[in-house]
């Protein structure tokens, strides 16, 4: 476990998460959530929890992103508020 690398990856994950709540375009928010999942996956790999990281990469970044894209496909792409 390397602390500076942890902090850098955590910063990227924080930026992706905050930006996902901030953007108006819902498809961009979905892609940013996928990026957040990949940064969490990198953090867990770096901390030694490879099984959790694998699950995060398969479910969080892979399948759930397509679920969100399918949900956006059936609704509007812009937020109203």
């Amino acid at each position: 476990m390397i602390l500076p690398l942890d902090l850098i990856l955590l910063g990227f994950a924080l930026i992706a998460a905050v930006t996902a709540t901030w953007v108006k375009d819902l498809l961009s928010a979905v892609v940013l959530l996928g990026a957040f999942s990949f940064f969490m996956c990198l953090i867990w790999t770096e901390m030694g929890a490879v099984d959790v990281a694998f699950t995060e990469a398969a479910v969080g970044a892979g399948v759930s992103t397509t679920f969100f894209v399918a949900a956006v496909y059936n609704t509007t792409r812009r937020t109203k508020d």
Binding site: V50, A53, F54, T55, A58, G62, F67, A70, Y73, R77
Partner: protein, 155 residues
């Protein structure tokens, strides 16, 4: 509504990628004992390979191949395999999911019977996870109209 259009790059990439994703899902399942992986992750990768098909190609043909009845049958089949192995161990005199007792019916010693028991229940987990993920995706993309054959909403 986003317009559907044929894209040769996406179709070619999916055609090349899908078999490798499926083999990788089976690899993750088969090496789940000793390395990271197992039924859940392998099932998710397997489901992702099936989800790529309607994204790149035809949704109607995919819906016909993965009909609702067949998906529900696959969901139940995985749970049946898992619970069936557990109850088989119970019937053979051990605890629930005590794979060592399977050596009475498998031609191996108890250590290898544990190995094969875990492999069989992970196969059940993979089948259920794959079927549930595909079912959730189809119901999301069609707005809950998996069973109906009408196409006017996504053409």
């Amino acid at each position: 509504m986003i317009q559907h259009q044929e894209d040769i790059i996406i179709q070619t990439v999916c055609r090349i990628l899908i078999p490798f994703m499926q083999v990788y899902g089976l690899y993750v399942l088969a090496h789940g004992h000793g390395s990271p992986g197992g039924g859940f992750q392998g099932g998710c990768i397997f489901a992702a390979s099936f989800i790529l098909m309607p994204i790149a190609f035809d949704l109607a043909a995919f819906k016909k191949r993965f009909a609702e009845k067949r998906i529900i049958l696959l969901c139940s089949l995985g749970v049946f395999i898992y619970a069936g192995i557990g109850w088989l161990c119970l019937l053979l005199g051990g605890n629930f999911l005590d794979y060592g007792e399977l050596s009475a019916i498998l031609p191996v010693d108890p250590v290898m019977a544990r190995y094969y028991g875990i492999a069989i229940i992970e196969t059940g987990v993979q089948i259920t996870v794959m079927a549930v993920m595909v079912s959730i995706f189809i119901n999301l993309i069609t707005g809950g109209r998996h069973k109906e054959e009408t196409q006017e909403n996504y053409d």
